[in-house]
Symmetry: C2
Subunit: 206 residues, 2 copies
C-alpha cells in the first residue's frame, strides 16, 4: 500500500516536471527535481521506487519520460469531468479558475438550490442546474468528481445525492467529515485546519 | 517533536468539541469523540498524550475542559489578525467568509496592485491597500499571518515583502513552493494536489 503523502508528492513532481519540460530541460537529476519540490532526493527516489525504475544511472531522469510515467500513475492521461455543488463565493472562485483545464480538470455541471441562481449561465458557458434535477443532468453530462461547496449543514445530504447519481470521487470544502460507502473516495480541503497549524507553530516557537 | 498530522487532528478535535459543548454535552468518551472526527480512539489518546493527561478514568473527558486545553495548545485563546495579498476571485471568497471570525481569525488588511481595486472598500469595511504601502499599513494594522492569493508568478516576491514588513506566518494558495527564512512558517492549500490524489485512487481501485 502506497502512503497518501507519496501520492501528494507525485502530484508535486508532475507539476514541476511539466514546468521544466516546457523550459526545454531534457534531463533532470534527482537532486535538482527534489530541491525544486522542497523534498530531499532520498525521499524522491523512495517515492518513485514504489512504481518502478525510472532513472538512468549517471544521467538522472529524462524529464518528458518521467512526467508521462507519473501522469499515468496518477491517472492524469485522461481529462476528469467535475460537477460543482453550491455556487456561492467559493464555488464561483473555483468555476472561474482557468488553470484547472491545464491540469486536466473541467467543470461540466454546477448545482444550487437558490431560485435566484438556478438557470443562470456562468462566464464559462455553464448553466446552473437545480439540485432537484441531479439524476437527469448527470445522465446527460456524466462526471467522475463532485466538488462540494455548500454550507456545512447540507454537505452530507448533497454527497448522498451525488453518490446516488453515480459519482465516486468527492472533493469537499465544507468543514464536516462525510460518511460515504467504501467504494467512494473523499478528499478534504480545510483552510481552518491550516490556519490552526500556523497558530500552533507561531505560538510554540522558542 | 510532535508530528504535523497530530496538530491537524487537534484542530479537528477542537472544532468538534466546540460543537458538542454548544449542544450541552458535558462529558464525552474518547470513542465518541474519535468516531465523530473520523479517527480511532487509540489515535486520539496518543495525540492528546503528547500534551498531558486530560481524561478521567471511567468517565471520559469534560468537553469544555478539554476544548480549552486544546485551544491553548494550538494558540487559539487569542484572535489572530490576517492580511490578504491578491484580492481576486479566491481572495474575495476568503474575505467574504463569515466563519473565520468564529474560529478566531480576522482580516485586518488586504493588498493588491490593480489600480481598479486599490482604494475600494469591501463589504466588511476593509479598504484595499496598494502593495507599495505595505510597510506603512502593517505598522498601522499589524498582522501575524499573511494569506497569499496572488498569481503564482508573484507569490515569492509578495512573501518577501510581507516578511520584510514583519509577518512570520504564511498561508499560501499559489501553486509554488516558497523560499522563506527559518523563523517563518508556511502552510500550503493546494486544491490540485487533492484532485490528483482523487484521480489516483479512482484510477487504481481494483
Ligand atoms: N469562502 C471561504 O473562504 C471558505 C473558507 C473555508 C470553508 N468554506 C466552506 O466552503 C463552503 C462554501 O462556502 P461559501 O463561502 O462559498 O458559502 P456561500 O454561502 O457563499 O455559498 C453556498 C452556496 O451553496 C448553495 N446551497 C445551499 N444549500 C445547498 C444544497 N442543498 N445543494 C446545493 N447548493 C446549496 C447556496 O445557495 C449558496 O449558493 C462552506 O461549507 C464553507 O464552510 C468556505
Ligand atoms: N480560484 C481558484 O479556484 C484557485 C484554485 C487553485 C489555486 N488558486 C491559486 O490562487 C491564486 C489566486 O487565484 P485567483 O483565481 O483568485 O486569481 P485572480 O487572478 O482572480 O486574482 C489574483 C489577484 O492578485 C492580484 N495581484 C497580482 N499581482 C499581485 C502582487 N504582486 N501583489 C498583490 N496582488 C497582486 C491581481 O490584481 C488579482 O486581483 C493563484 O495563485 C491561483 O493559482 C486558485
Amino acid at each position: 500500500k502506497i502512503p497518501p503523502a507519496t501520492i501528494y508528492r507525485l502530484s508535486r513532481y508532475s507539476r514541476k516536471l511539466s514546468l521544466l519540460s516546457k523550459e526545454g530541460l531534457e534531463v533532470v537529476s534527482s537532486e535538482k527535481l527534489a530541491a525544486e519540490c522542497g523534498v530531499n532526493s532520498a525521499q524522491l527516489r523512495k517515492d518513485l521506487a514504489y512504481f518502478g525504475e525510472f532513472g538512468v544511472r549517471g544521467v538522472g531522469y529524462y524529464t518528458g519520460h518521467l512526467l508521462q510515467h507519473i501522469k499515468n500513475i496518477l491517472g492524469l492521461e485522461k481529462e476528469w469531468r467535475l460537477g460543482l455543488f453550491g455556487v456561492g463565493n467559493l464555488g464561483q472562485a473555483l468555476l472561474h479558475y482557468p488553470n484547472f483545464i491545464n491540469q486536466g480538470y473541467r467543470f461540466v455541471a454546477a448545482f444550487d438550490v437558490d431560485p435566484g441562481k438556478i438557470g443562470q449561465t456562468l462566464g464559462s458557458g455553464l448553466d446552473i442546474s437545480d439540485m432537484k434535477d441531479i439524476a437527469e443532468v448527470v445522465s446527460r453530462e456524466p462526471f467522475g468528481i463532485g466538488v462540494i461547496t455548500t454550507p456545512a449543514g447540507w454537505a452530507q445530504q448533497v454527497v448522498e445525492l451525488a453518490i446516488e447519481a453515480g459519482v465516486k470521487g468527492i472533493l469537499n470544502f465544507a468543514p464536516v467529515i462525510l460518511r460515504v460507502p467504501g467504494d467512494v473516495v473523499v478528499e478534504y480541503v480545510d483552510f481552518t485546519l491550516r490556519l490552526d497549524s500556523l497558530s500552533y507553530y507561531l505560538s510554540n516557537r522558542s
